[in-house]
Amino acid sequence: MHSRKITKIMDHALKMRMPLIGINDSGGARIQEGVNSLAGYGEIFFRNTLSSGVIPQISVILGPCAGGAVYSPALTDFVFVVDNISKMFITGPEVIKTVLGEEISMEDLGGARVHSEVTGNAHFFALSEDECFEQIKKLITFIPWNNSRKARMFEPCEPKAEFNIDKIVPEDPTLPYDVRDVIRAICDNSDFFEIMELYAKSIVIGFGRMGGRTIGCVANQPLEMAGVLDVDSSDKAARFIRYCDAFNIPIITLVDLPGYLPGVDQEHAGVIRHGAKVLYAYSEASVPKLTVILRKAYGGGYIAMGSRHLRADFVFAWPTAEIAVMGPEGAANIIFRKEITSAENPDLMRKQKVEEYKQKFANPYVAASRGYVDAVIEPGETRRILLHSIEVSEHKEVPMPAKKHGIPPF
């Protein structure tokens, strides 16, 4: 019965084309009401889906959210959780204990941390309800009211001087740095609103502003797992790209990755299928797509991270960029295997061949000569060039072949 009250407001929000925020705190279906309570949920899920990509939908989990109830948040754009307060699971601990004999607490099964760090069901983690509400208010400032509008323009603002873009990225491509410092060095007021900070840390996503306009940022994070793409980071990036595309938010991609994470567990978890989501999301996105290759861009990772081939509008590279099929060590071992194994001093030969490969391929100029990179730019020019690129992309329009919709690798 309560669902009628909820669906009434959902219909109203869609009709008025305005954002919908759902605050969840429930025990699940009222068993006494039988199938009517299930019907109620169904009506809510359908409307979540109908409104998806039309109006922003936000879920705030302020208590237990079990069984059916938990699918509404899953269908919304952003889920907010609060430490020790939020709980989400399909089957609760009591049923799991009775049927499977496994003992687990509500918090360990589906608490705020679990969903922020392990499952990826939550996008924002707060230590208190007040912090959560501040996060929601901040998110709203970055996104438009509905999909036929753009986000609110703010007063442009220079990044903070403490972020010196020339001093952040080490020259040695095997050394880490926090890519968020680069993002802060180019965003208005160095204000970067990170999303899913605790999940799949090898990629960073979030909102910022450039020249007063909201932009979405996707960036590899060399500080975590060398910035590899894997099952989880692919999911994280792909969904965010879709969100930005649905709500007219330009996407800036910062590239520095050694490729995909190798491993049997990755392969068996379907890294092929999940990785493909990123390719699909970038390809189908019709918002302005701007890419800056900071350092490494190897193999499939180069293609996946907003490359020209997925129709990025502008692709820039820093002089430190290395665009190649794989890193010099791996490549030299394969291409020059004969020379190395038959050499008098294999180690020396390997070093020489690695150096040779580096000279030939580990730079942005080969890609630039083919037009895969539009310009090699100095780090210090990045913000200015991106500002200009976003400005000229203001009225971008791309036709897509007529179809009801594609079949993304769900």
């Binding site: 004999g101 880490p176 740095y177 840390k201 060398a226 590899v228 050694p258 190798p262």
Partner: protein, 105 residues
């Protein structure tokens, strides 16, 4: 750089990267190929009955034991033909998923 804590080495295609490792990566299960003669519990449950004895010859498909789980009596069948080498469980045992129950050679 103040973020120097917890840095490890990660090998990607022969290049060693200095970086932080994720908990999921550290805790990943290494692959072990399936051994056909090892019969494990595919689901947590209780052993209701053991139908064979050590030293007994079994055919492929012979019923070995009954595992009560998910409100069903699951009759575990032998995946291979052979001799029961060792039985690691007894009637009434509560077992977790993956526990080794019977070895057949």
């Amino acid at each position: 750089m103040e973020k120097e804590e917890n840095l490890n080495i990660l090998n990607i295609n022969s290049t060693l990267y200095k970086t932080r490792l994720s908990r999921k990566f550290i805790g990943r299960k290494s692959f072990r190929p399936e051994q056909p003669g090892l019969v494990t519990a595919f689901i947590p449950g209780t052993i209701i009955d053991i139908l064979v004895g050590e030293g007994q010859q079994v055919k492929k498909g012979s019923e070995l034991l009954i595992l009560d789980a998910m409100k069903m009596q699951n009759r575990l069948k032998s995946p291979v033909e052979g001799l029961i080498k060792k039985i690691h469980a007894k009637k009434g045992d509560r077992v977790s998923k993956g526990v080794l129950l019977i070895e057949i050679e």
